[in-house]
Symmetry: C2
Subunit: 429 residues, 2 copies
C-alpha cells in the first residue's frame, strides 16, 4: 500500500502566500539574466571591485585567533544579537548624531541585529501591520519596501516628495485626508529613507526631519504612528555635512525607528543590519524575530564587531566614498554630455548614495510597457522604470522617471550605458 | 514647534504580534541565567569543545584565497541560495538515501537555503497556514516548532507516539476525527522529526515513514496535506544503520518537505539550513523568503560549500559522533546508577541525537508549577519539563516526562546533573 496512494489535491496556500506575489524587480532581473551583454544601470548592488576582501580576512582571523573567541562565534547567539556589536553600532549612532536627544532614553536593549535592514523592515511590518493597515511613504520610495508592505496585505500611500524628500505639508494633508476617510486608525507608520534615498538620492533637510517626527507624534491619537527611518545610505556621503538622524528629533524616544545596515557600506554577503527601536517595540520585534530565525547568524556578527573595533569599517567607507564619488562623477559627466542636450531631461546632482534619478518629458513612458525600455535594451542598457518606485495609492506615479544605479558598473561602462540611454530617448522624443 | 508634540497613543500592534507571545523555553533560559551555577541539562545547544574552529578557518581561507571568489562571497547572493551549496546538499541527500524515489523529480531548483532549519519551518508555516489551520504533530514534538505554529495563529494537534515516533494508526484516527469535526480542510501538514527526535530521541521506522507519507497522500482530498520531515539530527547517528528519508517514500515528489541544517552537525553560529521542497512550494517559499531577508547571508553559504567540498564536514561529523557517543554513554551510565533504582523511572536508550527522554511515575509533576523542578534546581540542575513538548490539542500532554540534553555539559557534569535529579526525585517519590 505504501507509496501507492496518489493525491489529487492542489496545494491550498495561506492567504499571505497569495499576497506575496513577488517584486517588480524580479522582472528586471530576468531581463538582465536573459541579456547578459546589457550594461545594467538597474541593479542596486554594490561595486564588486571595492568589496572588502582584506578587511574581512583580518577581522575573521581576529575572530578565530583564540579558541574561546572562535567557539563563541561558532555557537548559537541570542535573538537580539551579539552585545559588543550592538554596543558599537549604538555608540556610532550617538557619536554621529552628536545630539542629546539621540542619546536620551536609549540603551543597548533597544538595538536588534537583523539579516540586513530589509529583515528589520519586514519585522516592523509584521509587528505593526494587519491587512489593510497603511504606511505613508514618500513618492517615490524604495520599491522593495513598497512590495514588502503589499505582500503582507497592507497598503502604501504616497506622499509627495521633492529634491529634499518627503514634503511635510503634503504629509499633513495626507493625514487629514485619511482622517476624513475614517482611516486614521489604520495609519501605523511613516516610512522615509533619510539620506540619499532610493531612488531619488534626496536627503531630508534638518527642518523636514523635525517636522515629520513632530507630525507623527501630533497625529498619534488613538493609534500610534511610528517613523521608520531607513538610513541605509548614511555612510555613503560624498559631499556636504552629515545630518543628525530623525531619532535626534524624537526627544521622548518613542516614535522613531532607525534601520541601518552594513550591506551597502561594507559587505552585502556578510549581511548584517540592525535597528534602533523605541522601547515599546523591542518585545514584539524580538518575539517575531525569534519565530523567524532565533537570531541572525552569530559568526558574521562577531566578524562585524571586529571590523568596527579595528577601524576597518571607517577605512572601507573612505575607500567606498572615493570609488563611488568617481562613479557618480562619471555618471554626471555622461549625463551632461549625452542627456543634457535632450529636451526636457533633468536630474538632481546627488551628494551621496548610489542613484541618479532622471526626469524625462511627460510624453515619454519609461515603463516596461512603453517603447523606451525596449529601445534602451536594444541600445545595450537596462534601467529601473521610475513607476516601480511609487506607492500603490496616494500621490500618483510618474511614468516619465528613470532610476540609474552607478554602484556596479565601471566609469567606462557607466558612460556607455548613459550614451545608450540617450540614443534610445532620442528615438522616442 | 518641532519636537514638542507629545503623543499619548499606545502602540497598536498587529494581530500577529499579539499571537507571537514568546516560547516557554524563554522561562527556562531566564532561570538558567539567574542561576549560573546550575548544571543545565535543559538547553539543546551543541557541545562547545567540538565546535569546528580549524575546519572553519580552512574553509574561510579557501573562500578568501582568490580575489574573485572572495568578492563573490562578499556580494549579494540569490534568494534561493548559493548554487554549489544547493547542489552539494542535494547530492548528499540522494547519496545518503540511495533510493530511486528520492532522486525522482528532484532538481536543485527545489533546494532553498535558510537561516537554520527553523527559518524553513517558519517559511512553511507562512506559506501554508492561515489562522486556525492545523498541523498534526507527534506528541511529544520539538517545542520550538509547536510555539512557531501557535505564534502564527494556527493550531498544533498531537498524534500519539511511542519509541518509534508517530504512530500511523493514531494519525489515521486523528484524520478521521478532524473529518468528523468538519476540519479536514484545515489540516495542512504533518510534522515529524524523523531521526532521533527532539525530545524523545525516537526514530521513525521505515514502515512508519512509508505509512505516514501514504496517509498524507490518501487524505489529501480537497486540501493537500504535506509531510514536513525535520531531519535536523540525521547526521548525529551513534549506532545502527541510517534510514532513507521520508522523501524516498514520496515517489511523486509532491508531498514531503525535507528540512535540514548544519547547526547541529557543524556550527550553529554559521547558521546554514536548507529545505528540499515539492515543486508547488518553491515559488511561494521563495516569495516569502524574498520578503523576509532576500536570501540568507551569502558568505556563510560559500563557507559551508567549501566545508563540504573539502571533506571537512564528514570529518567533523565523525568527531561529533565520537564526542556525543561519550556523553550519551555518561548520561546512560549515570541514569543506570542513580535513576534506575528509583521506582517507575524509565527511559529509552537513544542511538543518536542529543536527548534522553525520561518517564517518571504518573504521580510526579515535572512541570514548572510542580515541586520537582524547584527541588532539582535546589540540588543544582535544570531540565526541560516534558509538558512543554506537547501540541496544544489532541493527544494530551504527559506531566511526568523530562527531557535531558547531553550535548553541552561534560561527562562529569552530566553525571553530577543526573545525580542531582535523582536526589530531587527521591524527595517527591
Amino acid at each position: 500500500m505504501a507509496g501507492t496512494a496518489k493525491s489529487s489535491a492542489a496545494p491550498r496556500l495561506s492567504q499571505r502566500a497569495g499576497w506575496a506575489g513577488g517584486q517588480p524587480i524580479s522582472r528586471l532581473m530576468h531581463l538582465a539574466l536573459a541579456h547578459p551583454n546589457l550594461i545594467s544601470l538597474a541593479a542596486g548592488f554594490v561595486d564588486q571591485e571595492t568589496l572588502p576582501v582584506e578587511p574581512a580576512r583580518e577581522a575573521i582571523e581576529a575572530v578565530l585567533a583564540d579558541a574561546a573567541g572562535a567557539r563563541a562565534a561558532l555557537q548559537y547567539g541570542t535573538t537580539a544579537g551579539y552585545p559588543p556589536l550592538r554596543e558599537a553600532v549604538l555608540a556610532r549612532l550617538i557619536d554621529a548624531d552628536d545630539h542629546p536627544a539621540t542619546e536620551a532614553k536609549l540603551s543597548i536593549d533597544q538595538v536588534v541585529v537583523t539579516a540586513g535592514s530589509n529583515q528589520l523592515l519586514h519585522l516592523l511590518n509584521e509587528a505593526l501591520l494587519d491587512a489593510g493597515d497603511i504606511v505613508l511613504c514618500a513618492a517615490p520610495s524604495y520599491f522593495v519596501y513598497l512590495g514588502m508592505v503589499g505582500n503582507g496585505g497592507a497598503r502604501t500611500v504616497g506622499v509627495a516628495a521633492d529634491e529634499q524628500g518627503m514634503i511635510p505639508d503634503a504629509l499633513e494633508e495626507e493625514l487629514h485626508r485619511r482622517e476624513r476617510f475614517g482611516e486614521l486608525n489604520r495609519v501605523k507608520a511613516i516610512y522615509v529613507t533619510s539620506y540619499y534615498d532610493n531612488p531619488a538620492s534626496a536627503t531630508l533637510s534638518a527642518e523636514r526631519r523635525a517636522a515629520i517626527v513632530e507630525t507623527a507624534k501630533r497625529w498619534s491619537r488613538a493609534t500610534k504612528i511610528y517613523v521608520i527611518e531607513d538610513a541605509a545610505y548614511r555612510a555613503l556621503r560624498y559631499e556636504g555635512d552629515d545630518l543628525a538622524s530623525m531619532r535626534s528629533y524624537d526627544a521622548e524616544g518613542d516614535t522613531v525607528v532607525v534601520a541601518e545596515t552594513f550591506s551597502k557600506s561594507f559587505s552585502p554577503g556578510i549581511r548584517v543590519g540592525w535597528g534602533v527601536l523605541p522601547p515599546d517595540l523591542v518585545g514584539p520585534i524580538l518575539s517575531l524575530k525569534g519565530n523567524i530565525d532565533f537570531g541572525s547568524p552569530n559568526f558574521t556578527q562577531h566578524v562585524m564587531a571586529e571590523v568596527l573595533a579595528r577601524g576597518l569599517f571607517d577605512r572601507q567607507v573612505a575607500l567606498l566614498q572615493e570609488s563611488y564619488l568617481g562613479k557618480l562623477a562619471a555618471t554626471l559627466e555622461a549625463a551632461d554630455e549625452f542627456l543634457a542636450p535632450l529636451d526636457g531631461v533633468r536630474w538632481q546632482r546627488p551628494t551621496g548614495g548610489l542613484y541618479v534619478w532622471l526626469r524625462l518629458p511627460e510624453s515619454i513612458d519609461t515603463g516596461p510597457g512603453g517603447r523606451l525600455m525596449q529601445l534602451a535594451m536594444d541600445e545595450g542598457m537596462l534601467y529601473v522604470p521610475g513607476e516601480y518606485c511609487y506607492p500603490a495609492e496616494g500621490a500618483p506615479p510618474r511614468k516619465n522617471m528613470i532610476r540609474l544605479s552607478f554602484g556596479v558598473q565601471s566609469p567606462a561602462n557607466i558612460r556607455r550605458g548613459v550614451e545608450a540611454l540617450a540614443k534610445a530617448i532620442r528615438q522616442v522624443s
